[in-house]
């Protein structure tokens, strides 16, 4: 029961954080002509795919935690 309560609380926290981020109404909408800086490559979340891949592969091989940014990666022996 304790686990269920804990999990539900976590999910609720996450849901509210997601809602806060999409923040209907609290964020002033940015107009198309104000997006010049946002379009810069450095402002993207994955601007160097091979560099990200190397990082993910190395950290997956050396640490317990992995993933988070997407789905679809395959596994490896990595011993």
């Amino acid at each position: 029961m304790k686990v269920i309560v804990k999990k539900t609380t976590t999910m609720l926290l996450i849901a509210s954080a997601a809602l806060a981020l999409s923040a209907c109404g609290t964020i002033k909408p940015v107009q198309p002509w104000e997006k010049g800086n946002l379009a810069k490559t450095a402002m993207t979340f994955e601007n160097d795919r091979l560099e990200s891949r190397y990082g993910e592969h190395i950290y997956t091989s050396r640490e317990s935690a992995s993933g988070g940014a997407g789905v679809g990666g395959g596994g490896c022996g990595c011993n």
């Binding site: 954080a17 981020l21 964020i27 940015v30 997006k35 994955e46 992995s66 988070g68 997407g70 395959g74």
Partner: protein
């Protein structure tokens, strides 16, 4: 991992801004022209238009790790990546990697004596097709990798949906993988590991200089998770993982640079909890030079079945105190399942040679230690692990 959201690299609106318009004192005309130019600008999140250019990148990674008294793994990995639009509504992304890995790996904890020598070649490739719709896109991808004792196949589908003003993008994804394991010591044969992953995320433009993203992922895996080359390594056949990733990029008007920050919370059914913080700062200079210093801080708790390097008085190493030979209880002395903290410092320099060619170099220094764990106590008695890597890259777009 397949990318989930990629912001298109588009010509900056300033390049079609007022300076290129015929001189006019009529502010309304300029305003209308600006609006027209802005509407031609593809959405900031890649949900609705294919990339404008094709690009091909080649990178080479050299990675070396060591602990006191033992040079561990060395890896040399060339990689190739291709992104290209296919007509007006499609794009293709593909990567190919080859890892040549050799060196020594401790059989338990960080014990040097008896460390197993290994040499492996891994070849991995993936391909993904994206179809673009007004305010949405769908990506379907597949990945394959092979080593002499391990084979992995994966499939994924990811959808992006944008709000009308393109300031918010929602992402959902579903993926699955099927791995086959045939260790050379024949400790098991034709073992498998299957995982199913789901994710949901939202990307939000907060201001003209800030964009943030929140992604929740969950994966359920079953099968052979043990390390066949480690002593007494027996892990639960089920491992479920949950991650929450928050990312935020900020453009500094004063310097023209970009700060990129992320935090990831990770939790799994092995009772590992981990926190990862990253920060990097991208500073462009004149003549196409860019430097990017970066920092990563990581901390994890030990798996519930990890045991410290304290051994049974009679049996000695690697047996934990009171070890029962007939026991089927999970146990592991793998350093990766211990509690530790880790720090990475990185520095990247890139130079745009012409409008089409870019070269870059990145150096990274990594160290992990039991007593660097940020929450509670680290796992005692293990040697610190240090690693250095260098990446060289060249890319061309057309």
């Amino acid at each position: 991992m397949t990318k989930i959201i990629e912001i298109t690299s588009v010509p900056l609106i300033t390049s079609t801004g007022p300076e290129t318009l015929p001189a006019s004192s009529d502010m309304q005309t300029i305003g209308a022209a600006l609006l027209t130019a802005a509407l031609l600008l593809p959405g900031v999140v890649k949900a609705e238009t294919p990339p404008e250019h094709a690009s091909l990148s080649l990178k080479y990674l050299n990675y070396e790790e060591k602990q006191a008294g033992l040079k561990r793994i060395t890896a040399n990995s060339p990689s190739l990546s291709l992104t290209t639009p296919l007509g007006a509504d499609w794009s293709l992304d593909a990567t190919l990697t080859s890892d040549d890995v050799s060196g020594a790996s401790p059989r338990y904890h960080t014990a040097i004596s008896g460390a197993s020598r290994m040499n492996d070649q891994r070849t991995a490739g993936d391909v993904a097709f994206t179809r673009y719709f007004p305010r949405a896109s769908l990506t379907v991808g597949t990945a394959y990798s092979t080593e002499h004792d391990y084979e992995s196949r994966a499939l994924s589908a990811t959808g992006n949906f944008s709000s009308e003003d393109k300031n918010t993008t929602w992402t959902v994804g579903l993926g699955g993988s099927h791995d086959r394991i045939n260790p050379t010591n024949l400790i098991v044969k034709n073992e498998t590991k299957k995982t199913i992953s789901i994710m949901a995320g939202v990307t939000q433009i907060l201001t003209a200089e800030d964009i943030a993203q929140l992604t929740l992922s969950h994966s359920r895996g079953e099968g052979y998770f043990s390390d066949p080359y480690k002593a007494l390594d027996r892990r639960p056949r089920e491992r479920n993982q949950t991650t929450l990733l928050a990312r935020w990029n900020h453009h500094f008007l004063g310097t023209g640079g970009t700060g990129r920050f992320s935090y990831r919370y990770y939790s799994d059914t092995y009772d590992v909890k981990a926190h990862t913080l990253t920060a990097e700062y991208v500073q462009p200079f004149s003549q196409g030079w860019t430097i990017t210093p970066s920092l990563r801080v990581y901390s994890q708790s030990a798996a519930s079945f990890y045991f410290d390097p304290v051994y049974d008085a009679q049996l000695g190493a690697p047996f934990p105190p009171g070890y029962q030979f007939a026991s089927t209880q999970p146990s592991s002395a793998d350093q990766r399942l211990s509690g530790f903290g880790a720090l990475t410092f990185g520095f990247k320099v890139s130079k745009q040679l012409t409008s089409d060619w870019t070269v870059d170099i990145k150096l990274e220094n990594y160290e992990q230690r039991g007593n660097w764990r940020l929450f509670h106590k680290g796992s005692p008695g293990l040697a610190a692990l240090k690693a250095q890597s260098i990446q060289l890259g060249i890319s061309k777009q057309w």
